[in-house]
């Protein structure tokens, strides 16, 4: 399936193609620097708390070849980081608007398919 490149982000001298919704066209383009650039593009600042959730998402994708909707994201975070972080309030605070979609974008995953 061909994905349209809507715009290009410049990260450390490399061009990183984004689709119309701002997700990476090629998932292999991801690096921590790309995540920082995507966050800056959104006026977000990544803290250690963001990074541990991004790592949970990347691990989820490695295991299941899919980006999780909100409920499984909460479950994955709870399993990896414990009860106090594995809840939707915490994730909403870290990634306002839609944690599953925003965090997937920053982690270089495709847009979650089962998520409105």
């Amino acid at each position: 399936m061909a994905i349209n490149t809507a715009r290009v982000l410049n990260v450390e001298g490399r061009s990183v193609a984004l689709d119309p919704e701002g997700y990476l066209v090629s998932l292999d383009d991801w690096s921590p620097a790309v995540a920082e650039a995507l966050a800056a593009d959104d006026d977000r600042q990544l803290t250690a708390e963001h990074w541990e959730v991004i790592e949970v998402l990347r691990d989820f994708y490695r295991r299941f070849e899919a980006a999780p909707a909100m409920r499984p994201l909460v479950k994955a975070v709870r399993q990896a980081l414990g009860e106090e972080k594995g809840n939707s309030l915490y994730l909403m605070r870290l990634f306002p608007e839609s944690p599953a979609k925003v965090a997937a974008r920053l982690a270089g995953l495709p847009k979650p398919t089962n998520c409105l």
Binding site: F60, R63, F64, A66, M70, P72, K75, T113, N114
Partner: protein
Amino acid sequence: MNSTSGISPATTAIDAPQDLLIVLRHAPHGSSWLREGLDVALVAAAFGKRVGLLFQGDGVFALLQGQSSGPLAQKGTHPQLAMLEMYDIEHLWVSEAALAARGLPVDSLMLPVTSLEASRIARLMHSHPHTLIF
């Protein structure tokens, strides 16, 4: 007869009807029926519905180990099945006759399932308010 392999989910009892029963009757390869059935299960679960799966006919092949992506680079169904647990889809039933006809022992499957004889499958379907067949 009713046997469960591996670690048994908390409740695999037949009298635990879910909101939605999805019947999977196609093997992982050759068509997208299995993937589409699993996609519907995941969407329903993502919206908080309790979903049960019944593997029938060639659908039991989905439960074999290692249904990963092939040379055509299409996604395999193994990761999708492994992901069911993350969506709290834990009621998995399989037709005992379908396993027997294909020579598959229930303990060779990648997920813990409850195998059911024909009469119990009829009761299973009867007990669910909604059933989708793929």
